[in-house]
Amino acid sequence: MVDFFLEKFSQISWLTGLPDGILFVLAVILIAIPIFLFLAVNALVVVYAERKISAFMQDRLGPMGQGAGLHAGKWGLLQTVADTVKLISKEDIIPAAVDKKLFISAPFIFFIGSFITFVALPFNQTIVAANFNIGIFYIVAVSSVGVIGIILAGYGSNNKWSLYGAMRSAAQIISYEIPVALSLLTVVMLVGSLQMQEIIKAQDGVIWGFLPHWFVFKNPFTFIAFFILFISGVAEVNRTPFDIPEAESELVAGFHTEYSGLRWAFFFLAEYANVFIVAGVASVVFLGGWQSPIPGFLEGSGWGLVWFLGKAIFLIFTMIWFRWTFPRLRTDQLMVMCWKYFIPIAFINIMGVGLWDLFVS
């Protein structure tokens, strides 16, 4: 995309006089602003969806607006808007005993971690901020920057609960990086490329006559790999049943106990951005990204965006569904699940995919 903008700039006469560096920065900003807006809208929508879905699953109505006065709009549609206004207008509290520098910088580091991951995420055939040739590698590497933010938040808050949350989170995210990377590796083996668009393009066509040729259906091992990736992804973004860093019944609010207002909003925003990233990566790598579920039907870049977002939304729905169904695991059980179950199975998967590719297909 940067190249695309630079090319456009070269056609605008008054811009050509500017130095290349400034043009580059301008191009980057032009990309960053839509991503930021997308993140904000994503958080608004997902929070609203989460509230409504959880409410319906629990025989409730969720946010509703009825009767006199401006409640939360029809069906509570304005609830998240009201939330945002509240968060922005809240008093900015920095507790006296915190480590100020860390405390202030932590939410932004956490946010940056999820923000820069979007760079490599292809929304359709053309919309991708940077079509790296190491796309997957970049996502795996960058998405764990956020943990630094969590640790700083927990450490800087000078609160025992926060520290517990941060330590748990660090252990959890670092552990679950491994099954994520290993299950992505199965696809990389099949495609032979780390580039996101290449991976999606490899999922073109039909398999067994009727199923789309997505990697999740390709062979039994990739099928398992998809679930390992998805569940580990859920674990990596600290959602129930893996939400031990913020486990509200144990650690009050975990690493963001001391945060409120806008700083807390950044954690919130980043958390939902991470949710989208997990859903996005899983749908790109295993569910064909912008490929149509019925091959040859409704293709093109507009529909590509719809298919990609549709798949991502379905996976987000599943994550919400998980959250409102399951209890939470304990720290050691989380580790057991990762190291004793996911990682061995992921290794077997890699072997299996290789053998399957050699002998079966």
């Binding site: 025992k160 517990y164 939400d243 019944s249 144990e250 409102w324 399951f326 209890p327 939470r328 695991l329």
Partner: protein
């Protein structure tokens, strides 16, 4: 948290961290404060501090008449007020030697068992909440709400009833109440299956509760732990059968005990599952009582104008949803009790937390606390 490196010996001496869980904490079920010493996530010692909700119940009772005690007793175990009143009424009646009409006994049993269901629903819902499952909690509250509706229809109050009086109940059940109760029981019995599907047999829930916080029988008895907690440890001990009061001998019901189906006997899962099973049994009792209850009859007949028990004292215990609820009442012959002591089952349950939670992780403390099903109103009185 100061970590001190002892280079000479090559070992690290790590200090233990003291963590205050509560008085304000999402899962202390009230205002309990646990001073927890932790070594990393592992608990080395728990020291419970209670009394944040102390309301001088026993002192109050020495200043009001026997009738006026009942609103205060309601507020002790505010989750199961009917059972509290029931216990108090039975105790004072035994002290006075009053015979109770049959219909009153049936009404009392029905409301007490309904309240037991309501209390257990709260217990299993909150243990779900403590392990992080939010949805079962709301399902439980949805059904508990219906019981509270029944009570509201019966006596106007939803939580603190003042319905069971010494010598009777405050008034007869309204028209249509019996049918509504039948309706509720018909609705409720299949719902237990839903809780089981959603929570009881959930693998994560089993992992979190089975083999955690094991309370052996001898420790339980020594700590005076009673009720579902003791039955969870495998001892078939239920005052409704073993120390009969009221008319519980007229009903067929089972006393579920912990069997260690998912782990060892006496773990959190057993305590939890005993409660689930007890709800079924209570529903059975309610159904039988509704079938057998005489529809006609006065409920006011035996209420004395002024309750004035003879000089003497009595200790009587009844089975509340949390265990043995004992009343020690000393009367000096006046209408004001000389001394009322309430032996609270939750008080004894929380006293043993150090014994059973030591060595487990911080997350388990909440589960153990949830599985003991404590009500701080009753502990602090």
């Amino acid at each position: 948290m100061g970590v001190e490196h002892d280079h000479e010996l090559g070992v690290i001496h790590a200090e233990e961290m003291v963590l205050n869980v509560g008085p304000q904490h999402p899962s202390t079920h009230g205002v309990l404060r646990l001073k927890v010493q932790t070594d990393g996530e592992i608990i080395t010692k728990i020291d419970p501090y209670i009394g944040y909700l102390h309301r001088c119940f026993e002192k109050h009772c020495e200043n009001v008449t026997y009738e006026q005690c009942i609103p205060y007793i309601d507020r002790c175990d505010y989750i199961a007020s009917m059972n509290n009143d029931f216990g108090y009424a039975v105790t004072v009646e035994q002290l006075m030697g009053i015979e109770i009409p049959e219909k009153v006994e049936y009404i009392r049993v029905i409301v007490a068992e309904l309240n037991r269901i309501a209390s257990h629903l709260l217990a299993i819902g909150t243990i779900g909440l403590d392990v992080g499952a939010f949805t079962p909690f709301l399902y439980c509250f949805r059904d508990r709400e219906r019981i509270l509706d029944l009570f509201e229809m019966l006596c106007g109050a939803r939580l603190l009833y003042n319905y069971i009086w010494v010598g009777g109940v405050s008034h007869d059940f309204p028209v249509g109440w019996v049918e509504k109760t039948y309706e509720f029981i018909d609705y409720f019995e299949p719902k237990i299956h839903e809780y089981n599907e959603l929570l009881t047999y959930n693998k994560i829930f089993i992992e979190r509760t089975a083999d955690v916080g094991i309370l052996p029988v001898d420790v339980a008895i020594s700590y005076g732990v009673t009720g579902p907690n003791l039955r969870g440890s495998g001892l078939r001990w239920d005052l409704r059968r073993d120390d009969l009061y009221s008319i519980y001998d007229q009903f067929e019901f089972d006393i579920p005990v912990g069997t260690g189906a998912m782990g060892s006997v006496g773990d959190c899962w057993d305590r939890y599952y005993v409660r689930v099973r007890e709800m079924e049994e209570s529903a059975k009792i309610v159904r039988q009582a509704l079938d057998q209850m005489p529809r006609e009859g006065d409920v006011h007949a035996t209420i004395p104008r002024k309750i004035r028990p003879p000089k003497g004292q009595i200790y009587k215990r009844t089975e509340s949803p949390r265990g043995d609820l004992g009343f020690y009442i000393i009367s000096d012959g006046s209408p004001i009790p000389f001394r009322i002591k309430l032996r609270s089952p939750a008080f004894t349950a929380v006293s043993c937390i150090n014994e059973i939670a030591r060595g487990w992780m911080l997350s388990d403390v909440m589960v153990i606390l949830g599985s003991l099903d404590i009500v701080l109103g009753e502990i602090d009185r």
